[in-house]
Symmetry: C2
Subunit: 190 residues, 2 copies
C-alpha cells in the first residue's frame, strides 16, 4: 500500500538492534484518521469473508483493530498478556515468545468471546517471526472458531513468520512488506 | 447517558471484590459500533474545546480513545505501563497506584508526543480513586501542555477520584456515574 510505504519512509526510524520505530503514527502515538484508512483497506481485502469478529493482542494492536472493525461493524477482542502461568478454566491460553524482550509470556482470551460460530480476522501491527500470530491462531483453534485470515500493517518479509503462516494455508495480507532495512540505505519494500 | 446505563444494567456483572465487569463490551471484547457512539457523545461535550490530542493509558483505554478521536480527527497518544524504575531522558514519567493489584507502576509518554502547544483531552474507561487520571494529568503538566478535561466511560461516584480532580478545576465528564452496586441490588446510577 503506497500510502503506508510513503509514511514509513517519511516517519519511520531505524533504531538500535535494527528495530523499525513507527511510534509517531502506529504504536505509541496513533494517527487515527490515517489508521482508519488502513482499516478501510483491510475491509476492502476481507469484506467478502463473512468476518464476525476481529482478534488482536494488547496493547499496540488495539488501535488499528478498532479502526478496522469500525468499517466491518463487528466487535474486537484483544488477547491479554499475562506473566502468571496459571491456567484458568474460563480462558483460552497460548504462549508467545518475544524476541525483543527474550522471554515468553502467555496470552489469554475469555472463552465467552470466541465461539465455534465465529469467523475471525486477526489484525496486528507487526509480523516478523510470527510468534504472536501463531499464538492467536492457536486460541482461535482452541475455541473451534474459523480464521478467515490475518491483516498485518507491517511485515518484515526478511523474517520467516509470514512464510510459516502462509504455508499453513492461512491468508495473510500485509499492507507494507519490508524487504530490508539498514541505517545506511533506509527501508526497502518488496 | 441512558444508552450506556442500560447497557451496563444488561451486560455488566458484579464480580468478586465488588468489581464491575463490563468486559463483554468495553475492556476485553470491544463493541466497536457502540463505543463509537460513546465517542460521539464525548465529541458533543468537548467539540468547542480546541482539542488537538487525546491521551489515554494502555491497554483498556485505547479502544474508546481511538473511537473518540475518530470524531475529533486528532491523534491518540497512549501512556505505556512500565515496571522498571528507570527514568529515561526522552520520556515523561508518572506513577500510578493500582488498588486492584495493590502495587505501583510507572507510566511513560515519549516527549515527542506531548508539547506545550497541545490541548489534551484525557479519555479512559474507568474513574474510581483517580490514581491513573492524576498520573496522566501530571504527564500533561510536565509537558507544558494544556488539559481541556477528561472523558470517562464509567465513574464510580462513591469513590473520591472524580471529586479530587474536579476540585482541581479540571472538567470531568463521565457518561455513567455509579452511585452504588451490590450483588443483591445491582448497579444504581447517580
Amino acid at each position: 500500500m503506497e500510502l503506508l510505504e510513503n509514511r514509513i519512509r517519511k516517519d519511520g526510524r531505524i533504531g538500535a538492534g535494527n528495530v523499525l520505530k513507527v511510534d509517531s503514527f502506529l504504536n505509541h502515538q496513533i494517527d487515527v484518521p490515517f489508521l482508519s484508512l488502513l482499516g478501510e483497506e483491510f475491509y476492502r481485502l476481507y469484506k467478502d469473508s463473512g468476518v464476525t469478529k476481529i482478534l488482536t493482542i494488547e496493547a499496540s494492536g488495539i488501535g488499528v483493530a478498532c479502526l478496522t472493525a469500525a468499517h466491518f461493524g463487528v466487535p474486537v477482542v484483544f488477547a491479554k498478556k499475562t506473566h502468571t502461568n496459571n491456567i484458568y478454566a474460563d480462558v483460552y491460553t497460548s504462549s508467545v515468545y518475544s524476541y525483543t524482550h527474550q522471554r515468553s509470556y502467555d496470552i489469554v482470551v475469555s472463552k465467552q468471546f470466541l465461539s465455534p460460530g465465529d469467523r475471525v480476522l486477526i489484525i496486528d501491527d507487526f509480523l516478523a517471526k510470527g510468534s504472536a500470530l501463531l499464538a492467536l491462531l492457536s486460541l482461535i483453534k482452541d475455541a473451534g472458531a474459523e480464521v478467515v485470515g490475518a491483516g498485518i500493517v507491517i511485515e518484515k518479509a526478511y523474517q520467516n513468520g509470514g512464510q510459516i503462516v502462509r504455508e499453513m494455508g492461512i491468508r495473510v495480507e500485509s499492507l507494507a512488506r519490508v524487504a530490508s532495512m539498514t541505517e545506511a540505505e533506509g527501508v526497502r519494500f518488496c
